[in-house]
Amino acid sequence: MEKWIRLRVCAIFIHCLLLLEAKLKIEGTAGDVLEDDPVGRLKVFVYVLPSKYNEDMIKKDPRCLSHMFAAEVFMHRFLLTSPVRTLDPEKADWFYVPIYPTCDLTKEGLPLPFRSPKMMRSAIQEIASNWPYWNRTEGADHFFVVPHDFGACFHYQEEIAIERGILPLLQRATLVQTFGQKNHVCLKDGSIVIPPYASPQRMHAHLLPPDIPRSIFIYFRGLLHDGINDPEGCQYARGARASLWLNFKNNPIFDISTEHPTTYYEDMQRAIFCLCPLGWAPWSPRLVETVIFGCIPVIIADNIVLPFADAIPWEDIAVFVAEKDIPKLDTILTTIPAEVILRKQKLLANPSMKQAMSFSQPSKPGDAFHQILNGLARKLPHDSSVYLKPGEKVLNWTAGPVTDLYPW
């Protein structure tokens, strides 16, 4: 009898261990919220703006649908058909302004931020004059998607972006942006940091079967020296990328180069660590690609705020290396115990993790659109300070550089 009891206890114990081992849950600081369903938790009203703010820009340049700033376009399209959309603004918790400020592209496809502040101002004037909801809260229950380099600072050069600061009219609104850095002007409290857009179809077209052995230790492909904008090499990436190259170009465990091979996605799936150093801005679509392909991201960007940081436990998944520790990067990465690496890979293999970083079309539950809505839902109910007393004015419509006040 005793033997049977002992056997049974052992069996139950082993079973529990296996269950715990199998359930590698992804829990961020907000808890296990990656699989939350936002439908029913919030209502979003989508303003109808004249097409010169949105559709016309796409017609002028369809590259806006595939570059890394395309989140603004796809968020609009998602909200138009989403069940959280309400056509009655009185019932809405959040108001969305469909404007594509990053769609003004140069010949090479880089967005020009010079007209974006004027465009934003003009759009806000439009909604403030046609609907009463902006003036009711001065934009505190409105959200905007601003996926540019430094968010709503609307400039690609960091010094000038810091100087400009966030557009004064957006001071009270919630900003959904890709840029995130602690104690930085261009990230205000309450912003939602999202991943940049990377085409899910393109990435899925290059998926390899998971039994292909991972044989590259550290992988990186990207610009290491920006010869056009920073020929001396002392400013780009705060010297981090140049340091990587000079320290590790002869190191056989590092596979880093500037060439862009056709097998870029396949190579990422054969690598254990993929470096994600900062460039001119700390964020890059490389992080999204790394997560989708199961390569452990090595984040080299001091004080960066990663997307959906309250829902995704980045410390458990990624490896963070300070910029000053780049010369010791090889030691750092080779002394990580193998069990930790295997655990990180298991967390990355979790499909909810990959889903949360992609803007899938059509939208699937748990994808980036839903995470944005979850983030907005977590900020509800609105604080009473959001609603202004009649006659109270907080925003200064004439603040900011003089050129911003010109009509768009």
């Binding site: 810091i162 602690k182 104690n183 998971p210 400013q235 140049a242 002869n250 254990i272 001091d302 295997l342």
Partner: protein, 499 residues
């Protein structure tokens, strides 16, 4: 906009830094502005310009600017920001640009500063062997985990049958095969059949592989003609198959000839085998110079043939076996009198043994589930009947399973390369004791007669030697050019650190 306030000193200084470009061009005005804005805690406004003038004079005298360095070291607020740059170049050049705008006292200490930064390079940026070892261990562990998760569940052991005999190239071929087998993650039993009886050389090579080896002697000498050799090898393999049958060894039987090249994917692909499988082999044998044809004609016939002849199963579009791709040796001037060791590589027969894999249960006397389209091993090979290929074991060849994506993947390369008949090699490839006096030979050992067959000497041998020499000269020249190029690159990269 309260966050914009602390930006002012940074903004001014960083703008100045960005606008300046080279530090040598920054003027005294900028220096004073930075000093003022940086909230350095020293008294009086007259003191700073006076010291500055003094430093300027001293710099002019000494030949390099050190004012900023001194101020940074002696007067900067504590602690200097963590972005102080380390330079591995000794302090010979102009003052290192360790100038970052000192952090504003209001901002928290974790602030990351915009502006010029140096590039940190450690003094010895070369890999450390212990680290490489650790990285490889991590790679091995990750791949093992991948195999556990996504690879074959319940892997079956592999029985490798290899006919061999002691000769010059035996060490070359057997070592290569041993290394391939050592990389396979499944349990392996290596049945080595040696012609001419067991020899110490073979035993030594096999012992070094640390695999489970069954060394079977076959007491007949290996024949000299290629055509005889194929039949002889078949008999040797049958000998090994009979042992598998007697001892009822379990696993998948793979025919690995010692000179073939195997891909590690081969061992993964055969795990799904049920009874008998066929795979595609690439033939590496036809590009040899025969004694009869001159070289130019040889190259033309090469171009007419396909780039790499492949032997293996042929499938239709739905993945079913419909036939075989075999080797056609007619256009290559196959000479019946070719013997092993005349300098040419051997030619394969129609269907090589290496292209087939069997389940060992097919060979057992009574195995459960053994299909009825298989003949018993005892009926075959005895009484003068010869087995040319494992297909002779089957009554119906249509039950063979094609392996490797229906034969589209080439998993194995067939090669027969043997040394010249008069080649000599030291026993065990060890020169022991080492020779005390080494005298260069007066002539190459070409004079000896071959076994039984008369020599046909041609002018092609001398031509061959000359070509080899000229090729060597060319390669050494190109090496020198690449060295020069590397030096230029290093100069360009080192520029930013010292500016």
């Amino acid at each position: 906009m309260k966050q914009s306030e602390p930006q002012h000193p940074n903004r001014r200084a960083s703008n100045a830094a960005a606008a300046a470009g080279a530090f040598r061009s920054s003027s005294a005005v900028e220096g004073v502005a930075a000093l003022d804005g940086a909230a350095l805690k020293y008294p009086g406004f007259l003191f700073s310009p006076a010291v500055h003038v003094l430093c300027c004079l001293l710099s002019a005298a000494a030949g390099f600017r050190f004012s900023r360095l001194i101020f940074l070291l002696f007067f900067s607020p504590s602690p200097p920001s963590s972005l102080l740059n380390h330079y591995n170049v000794p302090f010979l050049r102009q003052a290192p640009a360790a100038v970052l705008p000192p952090p504003s006292p209001i901002a928290p200490s974790s602030r990351v500063v915009v502006g010029r930064h140096g590039i940190r390079v450690r003094p010895w940026p070369h890999p450390d062997p212990a680290e490489l070892g650790r990285a490889n261990e991590i790679l091995a562990r990750v791949q093992q985990e991948q195999r556990l998760q996504y690879g074959v569940k319940d892997p079956r052991p592999v029985l490798v049958v290899t006919p061999t005999y002691a000769r010059t190239f035996q060490a070359l071929h057997l070592t290569g095969l041993a290394h391939s087998l050592m990389l396979v993650p499944y349990p392996i039993t290596w049945l080595v059949v040696e012609a001419g009886g067991p020899s110490n050389q073979t035993a030594a090579l096999l012992a070094r592989s640390r695999l489970h080896v069954i060394h079977l002697p076959f007491h007949e000498k290996m024949p000299v003609l290629w055509s005889d050799r194929h039949r002889f090898e078949a008999r040797m393999r049958l000998h090994a198959l009979r042992l598998i049958r007697e001892q009822r060894l379990e696993g998948l039987v793979l025919f690995a000839d010692d000179s073939n090249v195997h891909s590690t994917e081969l061992f993964d692909e055969i795990q799904i085998l049920e009874w008998m499988g066929a795979l595609s082999i690439g033939m590496l044998s036809h590009s040899a110079a025969t004694d009869t044809e001159p070289r130019r004609q040889q190259r033309e016939t090469d171009k007419e043939n396909s780039p790499l002849p492949i032997q293996g199963p042929a499938c239709n579009s739905s993945g079913h076996l419909i036939g075989w791709h075999t080797f056609n040796s007619l256009p290559l001037g196959h000479n019946d009198a070719t013997f092993v060791g005349d300098g040419a590589t051997g030619l394969p027969i129609k269907l090589e043994w290496a292209g087939f894999v069997l389940n060992s249960r097919l060979l057992w006397k009574d195995a459960e589930g053994k299909p009825d389209w298989v003949r018993d091993l005892d009926e075959v090979g005895i009484g003068g009947e010869e087995m040319e290929s494992p297909l002779d074991l089957l009554k119906d060849a249509s039950f063979v399973e094609p392996i490797g994506d229906c034969g589209k993947k080439v998993l194995l390369w067939w090669l027969r390369a043997e040394a010249r008949y008069d080649s000599k090699f030291p026993t065990g490839w060890v020169i022991d004791p080492s020779p005390e006096i080494v005298v260069p030979a007066k002539q190459t050992p070409l004079a000896q007669a071959p076994p039984d067959i008369p020599i046909k000497k041609t002018a092609s041998d001398e031509v061959h030697v000359e070509e080899r020499v000229s090729k060597k000269g060319r390669s050494s020249r190109s090496k020198r050019n690449s060295c020069n190029k590397k030096k230029h690159e290093q100069h360009a990269e080192a520029k930013c650190q010292t500016s």
